[in-house]
């Protein structure tokens, strides 16, 4: 990305969004530079497939542009809103994917270089994690990913998921237990036998 001089340094995301809604096209570029990496990272962690993650990131940003004129100042943070949109878009894709992608579809490394093998193993683990999230009830998958992949606090997750902290704790605990069980069943193929 060709970074433009940061005319909006220090300005909160919401200020940029309002500036964009008021006709400042440069605010859109600044928002893209600031938010797209975060949006893409969240989608990639949940989906593990680059093309799908990019599709989600693009759609989330388009929804942000559409939302800009109607943005209610002070009601929610832009980041919170985006976490929710990306999370929902990802669970939509995971729902469709259930039972679709397996580790068998991931190519074996073509040479024995440790870095390649290691990268393939990491990819396989990320794909296995994404498939395991797809197997969870959607609210559990969202809570677990926001907590353990994005590192958000329970109050933040509660706001994103429009629920209370106690509910988040419950969703996260049950989701994590289910994930652990699923991943335990695949630990040999994911390279955890000899650890």
């Amino acid at each position: 990305m060709n970074a433009m001089p940061d005319l909006f340094a220090g300005a909160p995301d919401e200020a940029l969004l309002i500036a964009f809604a008021n006709g400042d096209a440069q605010a859109a570029q600044a928002l893209t530079e600031r938010l797209l990496p975060r949006v893409l990272a969240q989608a990639t962690r949940m989906l593990a497939i680059q093309a799908e993650a990019e599709e989600v990131a693009q759609e989330a940003m388009i929804r942000l542009w559409k939302q800009a004129p109607d943005w209610r100042q002070g009601e929610a943070q832009v980041s919170t809103w985006l976490y929710r949109v990306v999370s929902n878009l990802c669970t939509d894709i995971l729902r469709k994917r259930r039972g679709g992608v397996s580790l068998d579809q991931i190519a074996e490394p073509t040479d024995g270089a440790p870095s390649v093998v290691q990268q393939m193993q990491t990819n396989a683990r990320m794909q296995a994690l994404s498939d395991a999230l797809a197997a969870l009830p959607e609210r559990q998958a969202q809570a677990v990913s926001l907590r353990h992949l994005e590192g958000l606090s329970n109050p933040e997750i509660a706001e994103i998921m429009d629920t209370n902290v106690r509910s988040v704790e419950s969703l996260t605990a049950r989701g994590k237990r289910a994930l652990a069980a699923i991943m335990a069943g695949r630990k040999a193929e994911l390279g955890y036998d000899d650890d």
Partner: protein, 118 residues
Amino acid sequence: MMMTDRNDDILEDIFAQARAVAPTPSDDLIARVMAGVPVPQVASQPAPRRSLGQQVLDILGGWTAVSGLVTATCAGVWIGVSPPESVQDYTATYFGDEISVSLFSEEAIFATGDFFDG
């Protein structure tokens, strides 16, 4: 219990690897995102085109003024076609048989005759 701890450790390890995933958006993705940016609504959105009828309406002062004009015009036509008694004499004077205009006086005709005779 040991096995559960081991499974939790595996999961935590995978979580840590996932958190380390930080892809850089490709130029293609950035271009697609920027292509989806709508034209700023306030600054450069052109004024909507207005039809000729709309423009005429604006010049006359809008629908309120035009409705007054139409009412006044209809009333004028109706008064002309079927004038009330109070204005009937005036219309008869202007449009009836009583109007007679003499363009040439008798003296002038005779004077012309004199001219031809003479």
